[in-house]
Symmetry: C2
Subunit: 446 residues, 2 copies
């Protein structure tokens, strides 16, 4: 207890409405009550928790909530508050309640990545016009302070690329596959057993959760609003144990990355920002490769700062509550000190690039008939599309059914345009000698 309990506070208490009584909400409520004195000392005003809006007063809870604070009337609660914490998730009623809060002059702290990715631009404009604050550090990478550093600390720099491991479930699964050799289904089942993956894991494993976070990261990094529809999204459910093993052999590791990357205008082509989520090969020496289990990390490349990485817990009740409370104290300090809210800048009007405009390296795994001239034939297709090959690795296998030899190829390219790569892969697929394209993965960090 570092705060003197008899600290004299000049400011009247600040009324807090908490929307949502789930895992994070319960921890936020507990900390608001348990640490009231030290929070007051840091803020300059006491927080008064008005109530906790829940859908059902009698629903079973993962963590206990003070019964006398529960209410089902979120609307009424919001109208009385100075500060509203929105932890409902989903689009409605979260959006309407946040708009009510803003209209009544309350600052809002939200952890709702889906809503912010969908409607962040509108909500931010409304908050700005009303002179209140909207903050949402908890929406991306849980406990990791990443949004504030991007918005404020790097405000005088030019971010060129952001690579984030922002979904703990998929990082846990890929990390398990990498360390134990398990296949996707086994690693997913283990993640479900340990509570890292939900019964319906679609939102995590197909990359939708990461895509919402990618949109938010891209918007802050490039001073332009990007929405979910600007994000190209591929999940990890098609990653095989063989992909992982091949990556390992090549000194690489597969991570699901949320990527926001700036491509400058060049040769008359329009520049812009690519926002994408896909399984990505990374060298094992890359700082992101050392992010294990359900941890999150965001790697930022900026023109002046160089390479930065932010690492920590991306989910969980208490870690996420830490981010919510950081935003709450910051918003409250601003109320206590007076003056307008801290604003974001969306001065840029950077184009959102489609995936076809991305330039990166690729690793293509395929099997072909073991015939003379096949390699030359394939190399020519790459050359024809202007895709330059860095390495080809060939292994000869014998088919257990037809007893014919065939060649397994792993081709790593230099940086090339996605559309050219896609064209090459399509041409290879149609070659009579091609048996199967087993994987096409993008490579970063080399």
């Amino acid at each position: 207890m570092t705060a003197p309990t008899n600290h004299v506070l000049a400011h009247k208490p600040l009324k807090v409405a908490l929307l949502g009584g789930g895992n994070v909400g319960a921890q936020v409520a507990r900390i608001l009550l348990d640490d009231a004195d030290s929070l007051a000392a840091r803020t300059g005003a006491r927080f008064e928790l008005l109530g906790i809006a829940v859908r059902n007063l009698d629903a079973p809870r993962t963590a206990p909530l003070p019964r006398e604070l529960l209410t089902t009337d979120a609307e009424a609660l919001v109208k009385e508050a100075d500060l509203v914490i929105e932890l409902l998730g989903g689009l409605e009623p979260a959006r309407s309640l946040i708009q009510t809060a803003i209209a009544h002059g309350a600052s809002v702290v939200s952890g709702n990545k889906a809503l912010l990715a969908a409607d962040g631009a509108t909500l931010y404009q409304q908050a700005d016009a009303a002179g209140v604050q909207l903050s949402y550090e908890a929406a991306v990478a849980g406990a990791i302070p990443i949004l504030r550093p991007i918005r404020d600390s790097l405000a005088g720099d030019q971010i060129t690329r952001v690579l984030g491991i922002v979904n703990g479930t998929t990082n846990y699964i890929l990390d398990q596959m990498d360390s134990t050799g398990a296949d996707f289904a086994t690693a997913l089942a283990e993640a479900q057993r340990l509570g890292y993956a939900e019964a319906d894991p679609t939102a995590d494993v197909e990359g939708h959760d990461a895509a919402a976070k990618a949109a938010i990261l891209a918007s802050l990094s490039f001073h332009t609003r990007f929405a979910l529809e600007n994000v190209h999204c591929e999940g990890i459910s098609s990653i095989t144990a063989a992909d992982i093993a091949a990556a390992k052999e090549a000194g690489l590791v597969i991570k699901l990355l949320a990527i926001a990357e700036k491509f400058p205008a060049k040769d008359g082509e329009e520049g812009g920002v690519s926002v994408r989520v896909h399984p990505t090969l990374l060298p094992r020496e890359h700082p992101l490769a050392a992010v294990h289990g359900a941890f999150n990390a965001v790697f930022v490349e900026a023109e002046y700062a160089g390479e930065l990485m932010f690492y920590g817990q991306g989910a969980g009740g208490t870690p996420t509550a830490s981010a919510v409370l950081g935003d709450l104290v910051s918003a409250a300090r601003r109320i206590v000190l007076g003056g307008p809210g801290r604003t974001e800048t969306t001065t840029g009007e950077v184009a959102a690039l489609g995936i076809e405009a991305v330039q990166t390296s690729y690793c293509i795994g395929l099997t072909v008939a073991d015939q003379p001239g096949v390699l030359a034939q394939i190399a020519q297709l790459f050359a024809g599309q202007g895709v330059s090959i860095e390495t080809i690795r060939q292994t000869i296998h014998r088919d257990s059914v037809d007893q014919e030899d065939y060649a397994e190829l792993r081709i790593v390219t230099h940086r090339a345009l996605e559309s050219a790569l896609a064209g090459t892969v399509e041409q290879i697929r149609q070659l009579p000698v091609t048996r199967e394209i087993t994987s096409v993965l993008r490579v970063e960090g080399i």
Copy 2:
């Protein structure tokens, strides 16, 4: 160029005085001039670089400075400015110039760790009273946004421990020793050749630079002002190739860490914060162990957020300039928007603990005569001081001079009180069977 150059700015230009024309200053000046449009768009006002105060107009420069902006009259420059960037280093005239700036209503951005560690409390009070801002992200860990996350993002959490690699020179030297087996002198010479270490490396290798940063980190983390005299400081010049090799064999790595750690009150003993810099053994799986070369990283443990790490370049002209400009834009946004400056809270009055009150694990290397009963004798000394042993590793060697066998011992303890450990080591030193105490190192992260 993301900013529209014809952006209409409501606010008048902000006059900037730059004090110091060294490596960082030159980069700050260059970016202020080159990126003027995008900085204006993000800030809401243009920066007008009034002048650059230097000691000698004709001194040779590592980077070119616009000659017409140079002046030797820092005082006059400061009095005209809305924002002052102080990159002089050292106590005077930096302190007086910052005080002049504050008295004239200018906000200050400083990268001066020595001054902030010495006089941060006074300067911050003066800035607060004048309603201006004093920010200093560049003073700790160069480009890495660490102070703002600690101050704002973790404002609702309770930090329990901070472990920082905050000196690139010593990290480079230790990393070289670890990867090549070189001894300290060789690695230092290599660091000097590459420009990572200065001709007189004392401030870096003896830990003084890290100590100033430790005081700043501790002050922000524990809401209490700690000064340089509160920091226990040991450097790395006594670390031998044998220490490194022994650590490696045990799966550990030696890093020079700046540590700020809270010890709660217990058993009638007063709690407090220990601020210290010393070579530290870390498990190789610890995230800080993967910080190589001249990179910096700060590992933060907080009650709710859990473990966080911030990684990036700790020095260099452009990276440090990035941190300076982030502070500058943030301070300028506040001026443009109106309202008081962002304040720190120093509500806590946590005691600074001496090194004797620290509890940690230790690794003691010593050589003893190879006689029966020696191990028991030594184990008894540990037990007598209440220090519990985790592992003992014994290797028998033959002395090349007297041809007698002797035993080399590596003893790792459980967490114990520094004073008890020091007492034990002193008793062991006086045992007739003891040949030499070769190293006593603290261990963290196990």
